[in-house]
């Protein structure tokens, strides 16, 4: 079943066309990677899907609903969460508060001036569960901004899944990590996205070919190929886009 469907999506910034007619279908439960050279428009595509940018043309359907004119919070409430390329945790809050903040809306808690967080037993239990999953329970009282980089990215994953979304979009989740940190992060991504749909932008081809069921290749704002990993590896157009590199050999 198609959960997310893009039809002829375009995005211009002034005269410059960044996304040039992207059509893409993401199936429910699929692990889908979007790859492409720098400046191909991968993050812009994420911003369009999550509602941060409005589209110039085309349509985006999420679970049969058109979402291209919706606000980010409305899209999230439909069941789509994302992380950002630059780590976007709430640095001034501690780790526990970060997760609680992510859980509030999805757990049905409305805005309130007088309900004290400390007394929301169910919310706090859920937050501890998420922290357990991402392995940061022992650091729950740490200010998030002071965590090690890999832990910050783990917390960001925690924030994304805490919102209860069934489709998770991760923008370069292992960028800047050492090899062993990246391996741990991939394990974590597998664990927390089990049973969910994952859309991932990533430069590390080992990880892409390891995790993804299907890969879309974006070059100059156009999808030049969308297929299973083994077919992508053999696709001459893709190899040409990567300047002759044999994709996935690194």
């Amino acid at each position: 079943m198609t959960v997310l469907s893009l039809r002829n999506v375009t995005k211009n910034f002034g005269e410059t066309e960044i996304i040039r007619g992207v059509s893409l279908d993401i199936e429910k439960g699929e692990k889908h990677a979007i790859i492409g050279p720098n400046g191909a428009g991968k993050s812009t595509l994420f911003h369009l899907i999550s509602g941060l940018y409005g589209v110039t043309g085309g349509s985006i359907k999420f679970k049969e609903q058109e979402i291209q004119n919706k606000q980010p919070y409305e899209i999230n409430r439909l069941g789509l969460a994302r992380s950002f390329q630059v780590t976007n945790i709430f640095a001034r809050l501690n780790v526990f508060e970060n997760v609680r903040c992510a859980l509030l809306w999805s757990s049905g808690y409305k805005y309130s001036f007088w309900h004290l967080l400390g007394r929301q037993k169910e919310l706090n239990e859920k937050a501890l569960e998420v922290l357990e999953q991402i392995g940061l329970k022992d650091k729950m009282h740490f200010p998030a901004g002071e965590l090690a980089y890999a832990h910050q990215r783990a917390l960001e994953l925690g924030i994304a899944i805490a919102s209860g979304a069934e489709v998770i979009m991760l923008d370069e989740p292992v960028a800047g990590m050492s090899h062993s940190e990246a391996e741990n992060a991939v394990e974590l991504i597998r664990k927390i996205t089990a049973g969910k749909t994952l859309i991932m932008v990533e430069h590390d081809m080992n990880i892409v070919f390891d995790v993804a069921d299907r890969i879309s290749v974006l070059v100059y704002g156009e999808v030049i190929a969308c297929d299973k990993p083994e077919n992508i590896r053999a696709n001459p157009k893709v190899q040409e886009a990567y300047l002759g590199e044999v994709v996935g050999s690194a």
């Binding site: 606000q71 409430r77 709430f90 992510a102 509030l104 809306w105 929301q120 924030i159």
Partner: protein, 316 residues
């Protein structure tokens, strides 16, 4: 000497807390939306005028309750139907918008209430000396001003650090996009913060009106100092704004209460200049005379030696 010090400290606290009531809203709005709201002090003025009009018919206490609510709603409407639309045009457009709004409010106040000073009085209930020290009386109304400011800030602190909405506001201050992607209606939260920030300025106007006089220039007088506070404290820092407010309140109060001046300094250095000296105006300056410009001097010093402000952080 001791009584001068004690009373100057109390008066400094009154001014400082009042300034913080304005600065806290301004700095919250700035950190969340990146908008330096030039019209913020205008909401303070509106608070005083609305309270004055309400007090004519229903008494001071009704004004204290309803004027801030009216100002808060006005602030929220300004954000919803003005600033939110202008925001898409960038920061320069926002600055021009709030600047224009400040002028507009000042003109509107003169149009509806006139250019003269209004006889806005503190309530009879508080018209007695709270205590007498060294033969000098401290008015109960000033004690009330301290009390209400402190109560509001304890409330604000609690809401921001302990409540459900507080944690979302804190998160949205630095990462509005992430918060939006967690299902939170960030535009609504922005509107709420703008409304509450304006209402706080309104409260400051209601309680300051009877003491600092209610006239159409009151926004300009306090507005510039509030901006100084927000910059000295560090843009976006509530704690910094608190320290800077109290610091400037005390600094001005001590300067006004002291009788020191350049002649004392010259005496100390053993120097003397005749009355016909060309710089005689400079040599006879006293601290009370320069008290109004002290916040700006402090601003210059902070900008030279600590450009991020006392508690400001350079965001990455």
């Amino acid at each position: 000497m001791l009584e001068v010090f004690i009373f100057a400290t109390l008066n400094g606290l009154v001014t400082g807390l009042l300034l913080f009531m304005l600065a806290s809203g301004l700095t919250l709005i700035f950190s969340m939306m990146g908008v330096l709201n030039f019209a913020h002090a205008s909401f303070y003025m509106l608070g005083a005028y609305f309270a004055y009009s309400i007090s004519l018919y229903f008494g001071f206490w009704s004004g204290l309750i309803f004027a801030p609510i009216i100002v808060g709603v006005l602030g929220a409407l300004v954000e919803r139907y003005g600033l939110r639309r202008v925001h898409q045009q960038g920061h320069v457009a926002e600055l021009v918008f709030t600047f224009g709004l400040a002028f507009l409010i000042e003109e509107a106040v003169q149009f509806f209430w006139g250019a003269d000073t209004k006889n806005y009085q503190s309530p009879d209930l508080l018209d007695f000396p709270l205590f007498t020290l060294f033969g000098q009386e401290f008015p109960a109304y000033r004690g009330f001003m301290i009390g209400i400011s402190v109560a509001i800030f304890i409330g604000l602190y609690y809401v921001l650090t302990k409540s459900r909405i507080g944690i979302i506001i804190q998160a949205a201050i630095t990462h509005p996009h992430t918060v939006s992607n967690l299902g939170h209606n960030v535009p609504l939260i922005f509107m709420g913060v703008f409304g509450v920030g304006s209402a706080l300025a309104g409260v400051a106007g209601v309680i300051a009106g009877p003491v600092l006089t209610t006239f159409p220039g009151m926004a300009v007088v306090l507005g510039s100092i509030v901006f100084v506070i927000v910059v000295i404290g560090g843009l976006g820092s509530l704690a910094g704004a608190f320290i800077a407010s109290i610091l400037i309140g005390l600094l001005q109060s001590y300067a006004i209460a002291s009788n020191l001046g350049m002649p004392d300094l010259l005496n100390l250095l053993g120097l003397e200049f005749g009355r016909d000296h060309p710089l005689t105006d400079l040599w006879t300056l006293t601290l009370p005379q320069i008290a109004p410009i002290l916040p700006f001097l402090l601003l210059v010093l902070v900008l030279i030696f600590r450009p991020t402000g006392l508690m400001g952080k350079r965001e990455q």
